[in-house]
């Protein structure tokens, strides 16, 4: 299977006043994959994906999306090309209704009645359809995270970046989330930052391990599980 590469970085680095948060990362993500990005706290995962979607300017290196160099595009243009991003720290429109939150994400590509239809469908997929009229800030923390995922889904992205989506979810919600992510495979590529190993092992096609800003290992869940360096850096301590 000759996979098309959707996203590619070369020598991507970010230094914060001497701190090497991300260092020379070469990363290739084929289309249609669910890729998990794991690593200890402070490994540079959030910084790395922030550079992919344009939130954070890299110190050096390039990002290509669908074969095109997007290193100099501002965030909103990258999102326009088909990336969707959910924040590690939930970021929604807390004073607006749940439905309007999703509609704001939908309206960039849809118009009129299609907006409401697509928004309700996205809420349905994360199990929040019956809360469409509530004020988003009144939802529980876990539900706010699901809302943000719905805001990502409704954009029908080519690449969906999720930064620790299951943090704060109840066990039953995590089970639903795993099913949801597996169901996404046909329509989008997923880059998933996740600390919950159970979720990673069950959803990811491949795993990239970051440690001190560098790629420590990459492989299938079985390969990563068997990798001694990864165990030492991460799994063994967890």
């Amino acid at each position: 299977m000759a996979a098309v590469s959707l996203l590619e970085t070369r020598g991507l680095s970010k230094h914060f006043a001497g701190l090497r948060a991300v260092e020379g990362v070469d990363f290739t993500l084929p289309e249609g994959e669910v890729r998990a990005l794991i690593g200890p706290n402070g490994a540079g995962k959030t910084t790395f994906v922030g550079m992919l979607c344009g939130r954070i300017a890299p110190s050096s290196g390039t990002v290509a999306f669908e074969g095109r160099d997007i290193s100099h595009l501002p965030a909103h243009r990258r999102i326009g090309l088909g990336m969707a991003y959910t924040f590690q720290i939930t970021s929604i429109f807390a004073r607006l209704p749940v439905l309007e939150n999703v509609a704001l994400a939908a309206r960039r590509r849809l118009k009129g009645a299609a907006v409401t239809r697509a928004s309700l469908a996205a809420l349905e997929r994360v199990g929040l359809a019956d809360r469409a009229d509530q004020i988003a800030g009144d939802l529980s923390y876990g539900h706010q995270r699901l809302l943000e995922i719905a805001m990502g889904l409704v954009q029908a992205p080519r690449l969906l970046i999720l930064d620790e989506p299951t943090q704060g979810l109840a066990d039953s919600e995590i089970a639903d989330f795993k099913a949801l992510v597996r169901g996404l495979v046909v329509e989008t590529t997923v880059l998933l930052i996740e600390h919950n190993m159970n979720v990673v092992m069950e959803t990811a096609d491949r795993i990239t391990v970051l440690n001190f800003g560098e790629v420590l290992a990459e492989g299938t869940p079985a390969e990563i599980r068997a990798n001694g360096a990864v165990q030492a850096a991460y799994l063994g301590t967890g």
């Binding site: 999102i79 970021s91 429109f93 704001l104």
Partner: protein
């Protein structure tokens, strides 16, 4: 009734009420309400930026004054209607330039930068005193205040022109909040980073909001000069940047009717208290403090929170 229909009935009803009022109001109040409608148009312009986009400008008097002076300085040469248009365009252009520069900053810095631009505008008016007559200002002669065949110095015509301006601004504002553009402005106000990461060009939308806001403010300034026959530097001063902020805060930031309610409330509060005591500003001040303590979202904001959830 759908929320949209309720909103149309309410806002249409307010316009009909204002139209009807001119036939029953005594001469004095007739004049006050005409003035309030022009100033409420200014406040509507301010509200587009402050109430809906969440950007606090301390320099809107420059846009009001651009309209007033753009009209007032050219009306003798161009004639009434072209001068009016010139004033509005002057305000729009000024807003385009100031917006592009000031939006490089955010928060307190944005407040300071807009304040400084307005101060520069004020000093420019004083500097060119030969033409602007500085603080003293100048009267616009009655002969130049005739639009078509309508003499705008006549109170009845003046009221009608003020109402026309106000109705136009109100409809612009009402339309805005129902467009996807207006909803993105609200999204920027609520969570700018999230709006950006949904793929919206936040800078371009904020800039457009500054231009719309400045244009409406300039239209109000141009009409004010024309309807009341005077242009003076005090309208470019810092207090005329603060007034629309106060009116909008009192009436309810981010509500379509708030600017009218706040302006009307403030005009009559000062008017009534000055009838009772010479320390009228004290009474007005106390009332303002009470309102900010107990109606933090402004009058229409409280109405929305408590009664009419659908209020735009």
């Amino acid at each position: 009734m759908s929320d949209l229909r309720k909103s149309l009935v309410l806002h249409g009803g307010v316009l009909v009420l204002l139209f009807g009022l001119q036939f029953v109001l005594p001469a004095y109040h007739h004049g006050v309400v005409a003035r309030v409608m022009v100033m409420a148009s200014y406040a509507i312009g301010y509200n587009v930026l402050f109430g809906y986009t969440g950007l606090l400008s301390l320099g809107h008097a420059m846009f009001f004054a651009a309209g007033m002076y753009g009209m007032g300085l050219t009306v003798g040469v161009l004639g009434t209607a072209p001068a009016l248009a010139f004033g509005v365009v002057a305000g729009a252009l000024l807003a385009a330039v100031v917006g592009a520069l000031a939006l490089r900053t955010a928060g307190v810095a944005f407040m300071i930068v807009t304040l400084m631009f307005a101060q520069a505008g004020y000093l420019t008016i004083l500097y060119f005193g030969t033409y602007t007559r500085g603080d003293e200002g100048f009267v616009i002669p009655q002969a130049q205040r005739v639009l078509g065949a309508v003499d705008l110095s006549d109170p009845a015509n003046r009221y009608f022109a003020a109402l026309a301006l106000f109705a136009l601004c109100l409809m612009v504002s009402l339309r805005l909040v129902h467009t996807s553009f207006g909803r993105v402005l609200i999204a920027i106000r609520e969570n700018e980073e999230r709006a950006r990461m949904l793929g919206y060009n936040v800078f371009a939308r904020k800039w457009a909001a500054v231009v719309i806001s400045g244009t409406l403010s300039a239209a109000a300034g141009a009409f004010y000069g024309l309807l009341f026959g005077y242009a003076g530097a005090s309208f470019a001063g810092v207090q005329y940047s603060i007034f629309p902020l106060l009116w909008v805060l009192l009436g309810g930031a981010g509500t379509v009717l708030g600017p009218l309610v706040g302006t009307l409330f403030m005009f009559y509060l000062i008017d009534l208290s000055s009838g009772v005591t010479s320390a009228y500003m004290l009474i007005a001040g106390v009332a303002l403090v009470l309102l900010t303590l107990f109606a933090q979202q402004g009058l229409m904001g409280e109405v929305r929170a408590r009664v009419w959830r659908w209020l735009p």
